[in-house]
Subunit: 790 residues, 2 copies
């Protein structure tokens, strides 16, 4: 690892930057411990100390040190920069820094830069009615929570895409570095265009310990660590020590060198058109955990060990020795030199900081809605599949969508504000039309045989759902737009990431100063009913259940039944803000039921009776409902069978696109009223509901509805293997024949009258089984079935 | 990277190993394409070709090549070895190899080593009623699916722990290598004890392409790849080429060297007691994707590109040119030299293979139930908290459990068959008693300041839930026992892994030859109601919902209300087989309700009326039910309030430990009958149910029960921040005061009579809010509440 030996700071600069650091540390300790006496005007007494001490000291002095030095760079170079706090539990540090630079008080005026503001600053931290203990949506300048750990680096890369003037300084905790998502996110440098994108400066904060253990990267040899980081494609610089003055000089020198290198790389790429992959610099910052905190507590070493991870003096309120130690610790920062008697930061401590939007707490990229430009969206109806009669036209829904997405990319090319992201599946998901107008960005070696790869491009593919999600989150939170296309089963890999993003959005929506950001939209294709070829491991429709647990204000789920409804839904989602949209759609050739205008209307309603398929004359004997493309087809096929065999049975066909319409309006803003629900589903007729996923979700959404006891749901019940598409339905009792059986079993007085038909359905299922085991293909009558022309 | 230049194979050996490889390739191609004419006795015609061609050729020849050479090592050294197929979609390869060595026919006698068996072998692959296209539970010798990608290396390490004579040869696809879980699993070498554990041989199968893209690791310079692998702590060997004869020699030489190195490392550690971290060897195997397959198809290059990923001749049944090309391809392996006229492998092709249990398809470790030894479990009742009156004794449930786990570890130390695994949280989860008898294994540097770290130990901690889960899965599937302790919110990181494990168990249970393996048991603590200090990001109880979607035969969910019930549940789970057990339990001081005998009885029943807390005289006005430790306390506190203020209200208190008891027996084997359910919950009285997690789960489990319309569930509704424990309940309307309000609102005719009490409850909530915002602490009456002595 490189070590910079220059000493660029004058004595005066060194004093000032150290004073700033001490101020940030003082304010951090104050937040963790105090609810009063913020300036230590009087000796600390137990009443000044919070009764519950909640916070993380260990990482904080390092975060403060880095923040101080990055400010020096920003001020000197007028460099646009945001700060990604991987160790997000170091929340007090970020709050302290933004308070010192004034950006905190800008958004929270009551937390002013004076004694009363400082008192509030201290008390509110980790306190009921106050602010969380972690860097969170409430923290100005942040786009990253850091509670779960693992996503900082992917977020940083996402943020700088298409922001050529921006640098994301990304502090990575050495604990976080052990996670899988972080371990692979290093490779993001193979997807960064030094001409069109900004730069990420990864700073591995090697303070050595997690909660109760050392970290792996702190306990391998320097040579091994150096090899690892070079293997990831970086040029590592080492800044290490525990003497503040020496480390100040070393970090300042290193940052000078590193930012010169970044500038040189960018200048080169932007002037020469070089399309190679630069070796971007990164920093290993090895300083003690809990630096400047208590060296020992109760006879145990604390500074430089895991014991400083959270609150080093846990008994400060109850134990006089702890309290005295706390006071000595806080006074060691010499607060009288840092703050005026009125509690404001002294001029010389902060007058060298960057101002305005250059302050990292005020950088507009970190409040991305401020910068969002609406997408130019071509009129989707022009891309619709022609449908002169229902069920006549076959199309591959995602391929149709691909044509529209191609033109979305084209129309927004000048604004560089849209990315299509996915794990190696864009072509497989039949969105390949986009490659007519853009490439997949790829900065590793390109060979002659490759297609659609280029040094820049709107499509990003890496075989890591975590990295895809992290990139996209970073891109959206800085105000741009995107779409994540993914196999349905494997999107569970990002379950926990979507949890955290949903939580971020939930809190953001409650903060008036956070501007709405474009929604996170998933296109889940290659779904459970179209993974017959890959088998059981690829079959899981449970992501919908997962997101349905999140706040109703945030989540939306769409199951467009055909190509034209998919277009309409996608158009809607790309216009939306602050949501998580889940779209599940097929990629295989399938019937298009609605012309594009009818599709738009149906999607606007979200659910409705399909009159053209119903013969209920306003008074059905049974309601056949569907949500999902394959279930819709099976419901219509079952309806066709019922018409042929039981022509006087009044069947109502209902289709649900917007799944949350099923909930009561008290539970979800899209929910329809009970009156509407009753009008569609009736209160007393059997409803056979063919659903795309696990049946219990439909019960969960509708359990308070009047007709719920009459509702019978079919769906995936975790039966699968490599087989035929129709066999997947049969194995899960969701095929047309079984739906007909369900109708016969549930419509009063039908059982005897339709006994022959029921037996035929049973026989059909046996016949199907025998046929596929012989031929490997579905029955021709299944494959060739079409809705009858009227 | 090292390159071995020796040529250890004699001409005869080279011929034989190459013949074996050709046989495996022939059989692989046959499986993908043919349903008849397996020996090509007649020219191929369309009827011989399957109508749906489903499979993955690209990785298969490489997998076959490696399998062949590992067999040479096994035979020469009598080395116990299992084969982990990261690129699990190369299913035909593993089936082909196990058929050749005879282990396939051992478990599937109808797929015999003759022409009819070969016909069956071919037809069954990816065919309805046959076998999946991927390596799966159905494949002998496998403990790893490889459908989702990312977990091979962690599985391999898990398998060799405490199996000192075993080597897991782990083929890692270069696509898979991009995933987060794989990228961090390399660090597992810091947790391997060369004396007590076996060895993992990672083989990075660098064939260059994913579905539609090159792979990152194939497109960085060799120097960079070398640095990366050295940075991960390995000694990399390169085997590369496309000339089979040369690659045969190179791989044979490399494997000789590598297995010598492994033996030397192990010998050193086992004789000298060296506790250092060895630099384990690994192999980079760079050969063409789709090696020996069609060079070109329809004018496009195929061999050596991503176009050979799946089925290189997709129109073999319909296009005469494709069909001819297929036949030429298959005949290029010279099947007449490989198989007798009767269809058996020729003697000279297979007579050098290892036999019996040394065959990788028959290795008992890969059917771990064959080797499982029951745990010695100390009588848990001896560890119980003394309870002379309900609610009298306070204990930290997980700390109590820790004492028992300490003795579980001690009792089973001689058998080396139990591991406690978690991401840096064993101490934080208050299981620290285990460190009285064992260490956390740690093979990186140990410093003086460290505690409980050692070169070997029963506890494993890495800050990667993915790696933890992968290790444990590998350990369990090879027949040993373990427990995964984890923060509740972050276990979502392994959602998709638990999906895949559940699918594996579901299929395994249907295979008579797969012996039951110990269950995967989660201890989720630091749960949603005890993460008030870490805040919103740490609050998510949805893992229960997630597992509840899996097959009922496999999943179990337990919510022990106190320390003694936790002991009973843990004892039960560690005895179970083939399940996924989720235990949610608190770590903070809490009241113990039942003495240990009553606890055991309550857990055996799974749910029941707590008579000691009820005054319903068999005919309640209201049922107050709880599942979860904190909800149980709130229900009892609410009951106490009701007793004080409405002494004539007949309240029944019900507690649920085994959540799946709530389902009908048709849905889950633990489900109680409707009659039992009705007897406990009544059919017509209001039931106020305080639940640990998202309320909808309770509705989902009970929607078919008679009394469902009277059921009102409180639980977590995604409202959280850093606050006090009780405030978390108030924010989610799950506190005792709100439960009392719910009772008043729902018991007929109570509203007017209890109007004053209701208003008091509203006031209490306001008072709580004011109090915590002032003091930071919960109301004393909340903190100090105890169930009244009778």
């Amino acid at each position: 690892m490189r070590v910079s030996s220059a000493t660029p700071l004058s004595a005066n600069e060194l004093d000032r930057i150290d004073a700033y650091w001490r101020a940030a540390n003082y304010l951090s300790v104050g937040q963790i411990y105090l609810m009063d006496n913020p300036l230590l005007r009087e000796p600390l007494c137990p009443e000044h100390v919070k009764p519950r001490l909640l916070g993380h000291w260990g990482t904080t002095p390092g975060l403060n040190f880095l923040y101080a030095h990055l400010n020096r760079i920003i001020a000197a170079r007028r460099q646009e920069m945001i700060y990604i706090t991987g160790p997000g539990h170091g929340g007090p540090g970020l709050v302290a820094n933004t308070w010192l630079e004034g950006s905190y008080s800008d958004v929270y005026p009551s937390v002013s830069q004076d004694e009363s503001g400082m008192r509030r600053l201290f008390k509110q931290f980790s306190f009921p009615g106050g602010v969380p203990s972690h860097v969170a949506a409430e923290t100005p300048g942040s786009i990253h929570e850091g509670g779960e750990l693992g996503y900082s680096l992917a977020h940083a890369y996402g943020a700088v895409l298409d922001n050529p003037e921006l640098v994301a300084a990304c502090v990575i905790g050495d604990g976080e570095a052990e996670t899988g998502p972080l371990a692979t996110a290093w490779h993001s440098n193979k997807f960064l265009d030094p001409a069109g994108d900004g730069a990420v400066l990864p700073i591995l904060h090697l303070n050595g310990y997690k909660i109760a253990n050392p970290t792996i990267l702190a306990r391998i040899d320097d040579d091994e660590l150096d090899a690892l980081l070079r293997g990831y494609g970086y040029e590592p610089y080492l800044v290490a020590g525990d003497d503040p003055a020496a480390v100040h000089q070393q970090l300042a020198a290193t940052l000078d060198e590193v930012f010169d290198t970044i500038a040189a790389i960018q200048y080169g790429a932007r002037t020469s058109g070089d399309t190679g992959r630069p070796r971007w610099p990164m920093i290993v910052f090895r300083t003690p955990k809990g630096w400047t905190g208590p060296k020992e507590v109760d006879g145990q070493p604390v500074e430089g060990t895991w014991r400083s991870h959270q609150v080093p003096l846990p008994a400060a309120r109850d134990d006089a020795a702890h309290l005295r130690q706390l006071e000595a610790w806080m006074r060691s920062y010499r607060p009288e030199e840092l703050f005026s008697p009125e509690g404001a930061p002294r001029r010389e401590v902060v007058d060298w900081l960057p101002g305005g939007d250059l302050r990292m707490g005020a950088n507009p990229h970190a409040n991305g809605g401020r910068l969002t430009r609406d997408l130019e969206l071509p009129d989707f109806t022009a891309y619709g599949v022609k449908v002169s009669a229902a069920g006549e036209t076959v199309a591959e829904p995602t391929r149709v969508l691909g044509n529209w997405l191609r033109d979305v990319i084209k129309a927004n090319a000048p604004y560089r504000n849209f990315r299509l992201i996915g794990p190696d599946e864009t072509e497989s998901n039949r969105l390949g039309a986009v490659f007519d107008v853009t490439d997949k960005v790829w900065r590793a070696r390109i060979d002659d045989v490759d297609v659609h790869l280029g040094p820049s491009g709107r499509v990003m593919e890496i075989l890591s759902e975590n990295t895809c999600q992290g990139w996209l989150e970073g891109y959206l939170l800085t105000g741009r737009h995107g779409l994540f296309n993914c196999y349905e089963a494997f999107v569970h890999i990002v379950d926990s990431m979507v949890n955290q993003h949903a939580k971020w959005l939930k809190v953001s929506r409650e903060l008036p100063w956070r501007m709405p950001v474009p929604s996170l939209t998933y296109l889940l294709t290659s779904h459970v009913w179209q993974q017959d070829h890959n088998g059981f491991s690829h079959q899981d429709p449970g992501f919908i259940d997962h997101v349905a647990n999140k706040k109703a204000d945030v989540i939306r789920v769409y199951l467009p039944p055909d190509a034209n409804t998919l277009l309409s839904v996608a158009d809607h989602c790309l216009r939306s803000r602050n949501h998580i949209n889940v779209i599940v759609a097929g990629k295989k050739p399938a019937v298009t039921w609605l012309d594009v205008d009818a599709a738009a209307l149906h999607c606007a309603r979200g659910l409705g009776i399909w009159d053209w398929a119903s013969n209920d004359q306003g008074d059905p004997d049974v309601v056949l409902a569907a949500a999902g493309d394959v279930p819709t087809r099976e419901v219509l096929a079952a309806t066709d069978l019922l018409r042929q065999h039981l022509p006087d049975l009044r069947v109502r066909v209902v289709n649900v696109v917007d799944l949350m319409r099923l909930q009561p309006p008290s539970e979800h803003p899209h929910g329809i009223s009970d009156a509407q629900f009753d009008a569609i589903f009736t209160t007393d007729r059997p409803v056979i509901f063919a659903y795309h996923g696990y049946p219990t979700l439909i019960h969960r959404l509708t359990y308070r509805r009047h007709g719920h006891d009459n509702l019978h749901v079919r769906g995936y019940k975790e039966e699968g293997t490599t087989t035929t598409p129709f066999d997947m339905l049969v194995r899960n009792d969701s095929d047309r024949y079984h739906l007909v059986m369900d109708v016969i079993d549930r419509v009063p007085d039908l059982a005897r009258r339709a006994a022959t038909l029921r037996q035929q359905m049973v026989d059909k299922r046996v016949q199907h089984r025998q046929y596929i085991c012989r031929t490997g293909e579905d029955l021709p009558e299944v494959r060739d079935w079409r809705w009858p022309a009227s």
